[in-house]
């Protein structure tokens, strides 16, 4: 299988500004450090790491919500391979319909002042304004595919529960039939029961629509269940990567071992015995 996305040596650095009136740049903070990975068509790649590890910055840089400092992200678009890092926002616009994102917070990611119908239709309005008369039909079709009623169209987001809102966010991300979908902690804010439903939905849609997922999460059990391969990020770098079963059963890097040892078991007889950061030489 060919790689849908091939990232090599991607770094993101933020300028650190001096305080005061003339804010000169005094140094740089490296959020993502020379990250390389490859995501095959139809694959399901997890990115795990703790807060501050740079996982969200990495995916936002790939989608060009922020600008990477160096490196390349080769994306196999419908019109051939392009390096996302080399394009400006105007050149990116036609590519946006092929890559979409599902956000963590189902409350903050939907505009509270727009009706659900308008929210889900917005990508259509932007990319296919010429087919306006079919939008409503396509929106209703998409809402039904993610398990929502057609009545949802005329309601506002505040009328929906967290899980339902996340379905609205999924419908918006998928309505243009993208190839790559980035899930940025897409199930982290959801209740356990709802989380299972959304994970199932994402799996079903992957089958039906031939999607490729880049799945950012901090819940290791979810990543193990959902993904084929995973990257472990620590302080901006990938410390370990591999197929989930191998990585979870036989971790090599100390940080991966630490992370795995901290997962509480659902069995009360398996007492949690986390490894100690300092003895592993991690700070």
């Amino acid at each position: 299988m060919t790689a849908l996305l091939d990232v090599s040596n991607l770094s993101v650095r933020f300028p650190v500004m001096e305080q005061g009136i003339f804010r000169r740049q005094v140094s740089e903070m490296t959020a993502v450090n020379k990250v390389s990975f490859s995501l095959p068509q139809g694959g399901n790649l997890g990115i795990v790491g703790e807060s501050g590890s740079g996982k969200t910055t990495l995916v936002r840089a790939i989608l060009r919500a922020l600008d990477p400092s160096e490196g390349a992200a080769i994306f196999q678009s419908q019109h051939g391979a392009v390096d996302l890092c080399q394009l400006n926002q105007d050149q990116l616009k036609p590519l946006r319909k092929e890559m979409q994102m599902i956000f963590q917070d189902p409350f903050a990611s939907l505009n509270p002042r727009m009706k659900v119908g308008e929210i889900v239709a917005e990508p259509l309005v932007i990319h296919e304004p010429e087919s306006a008369e079919s939008h409503r039909e396509r929106v209703i079709d998409m809402l039904e595919r993610v398990g929502l009623d057609r009545d949802a169209v005329s309601r506002f987001p505040h009328a929906f529960s967290g899980g339902q809102r996340q379905r609205i966010g999924i419908a918006r991300a998928l309505i243009l039939n993208p190839a790559l979908v980035v899930c940025d902690e897409a199930v982290s804010a959801l209740d356990v029961s709802v989380q299972a439903q959304v994970l199932n939905l994402l799996k079903d849609l992957q089958q039906d629509m031939n999607l490729t997922y880049l799945f950012v999460a901090h819940d290791l059990n979810v990543v193990r269940y959902f993904c084929d391969e995973t990257l472990v990020m620590y302080q901006g770098s990938i410390v370990e990567s591999g197929p989930v079963d191998k990585l979870f059963e036989h971790p090599v890097h100390d940080y991966t071992k630490l992370l795995l040892s901290a997962i509480p078991s659902i069995d009360p007889d398996q007492t949690l015995t986390p490894l100690d950061r300092s003895t592993l030489g991690l700070d």
């Binding site: 919500a65 946006r96 932007i126 506002f156 505040h158």
Partner: protein, 376 residues
């Protein structure tokens, strides 16, 4: 505490198709004081808009028989104890105190002036459209009616307060409208572009805000050419006040812009490929419209007070224009408080309007922002 919020709104079916504006209205309606203030303001703006009709007299008309006359009382029962369905006022009986030479008025019970509603009176030109002579309340032609008394030239203060309302209140509205345009434009620019532009605008605002406002107003007003017509001066004053007041709003707008730019739903729109124009008009502006309206409401009384202060000091509007500040000019010495306290009545209206705007603005803020910004 999120679960608390969820609990409070479990039954969402009833509100499902209400927009956030409608929900805001539901919450606003529970603020009794704000609703009452809103109604008071609507009433007073209505009167100001139709002041020719509501004022019994022209503001420059002089009653030479009643100089410094005190307010007349409205009666229903006459001196014989007979009840009259039509309220009436008594005429004045003037005598000059032989010791102090002060004019003293008493009610002349022999002259009973019944009030007449929607009757003909002094002719006026309504909004430069047509001539009319109907007034809301008046008395017969050779009688006179001074609810709030008269000033040193015998002009009716009640009529002058009503005419002054038109100038003072409209000045507040137009001034704030101009402030919003300036504040949103400049603040939005700073927030959206960020970086150097933001830095420059921020520093300029700081400089502007550090100049003491009163001397600045006075200097700018003094610079208005003397030969300007009253209308031009009126707009000149509005521009001066707005030029100084926009800074506060610009800061609010900038802050909201910066916060909103990082909101997930705005990032989502960017990742969808939405144009800058679309992001601003569809996502950013609607999200802080309620904020702007509230801030503006709270800024109107500042405008009105500023105009009053300027005119009171004699550097704002000048006679023959009638504004509340101009009216208060007559109350600049302590004699007024002792001898003719009714000249202070325009000040009462300034206070009432300012309080009403503040209460209304508070109510709107609470209704629009129940959880501190996130309209979830």
């Amino acid at each position: 505490m999120t679960s608390l919020r969820n609990q409070a709104t479990i039954d969402k079916a009833a509100t499902a198709e209400l927009s956030s504006a409608q929900l805001t209205w539901l919450r606003f309606k529970r603020h009794r004081l704000a609703v009452a203030s809103g109604m008071f303001l609507i009433a007073i703006y209505f009167v100001a808009a139709f002041c020719e009709f509501f004022a019994p007299y022209d503001p420059s008309w002089r009653n030479s028989k009643a100089i410094f006359a005190p307010p007349q009382e409205i009666h229903f029962v006459d001196e014989k104890g007979d009840f009259h369905l039509r309220p009436f006022v008594y005429g004045y009986h003037l005598h000059i105190n032989p010791d102090t030479w002060v004019r003293e008025y008493e009610e002349d019970k022999s002259q009973r002036y019944p009030l007449r509603f929607f009757a003909g009176g002094i002719e006026y030109e309504f909004w430069n459209l047509f001539r009319a002579n109907r007034h809301f309340v008046t008395v017969e032609a050779n009688h006179y009616l001074h609810f709030f008394g008269t000033d040193k030239l015998g002009r009716d203060i009640f009529s002058r307060v009503i005419y002054g309302a038109r100038i003072s209140l409209s000045l507040g509205l137009i001034g704030v409208a101009l402030t919003i345009v300036l504040g949103v434009l400049i603040g939005g620019l700073a927030g959206y572009l960020g970086g150097r532009v933001d830095n420059l605008i921020q520093r300029s605002i700081e400089v502007l805000q550090s100049i003491p406002t009163l001397p600045l107003w006075m200097a700018l007003s003094a610079a208005l050419p003397v030969h300007w017509s009253p209308l031009t001066v009126y707009f000149g004053i509005i521009v001066i006040l707005s030029l100084i007041q926009w800074t506060g709003l610009a800061r609010v707008v900038r802050g909201r812009f910066l916060a909103l730019r990082e909101e997930d739903f705005v990032v989502a729109a960017r990742l969808m490929g939405a144009s800058q124009f679309r992001i601003i008009t569809r996502h950013l502006l609607p999200s802080f419209m309620s904020h702007i309206i509230t801030t503006a409401t709270l800024a109107i009384p500042g405008m009105i007070l500023a105009e009053t202060a300027l005119s009171f000091l004699g550097v704002g509007l000048r006679s023959p224009v009638v504004s509340w500040g101009v009216l208060l000019q007559q109350a600049q010495n302590y004699q007024v408080i002792v001898l003719t306290p009714w000249l202070l009545i325009p000040g009462v209206f300034v206070i009432l309007v300012v309080i009403a705007f503040n209460l209304l603005g508070d109510g709107m803020r609470d209704a629009a922002d129940p959880y501190g910004g996130n309209a979830g």
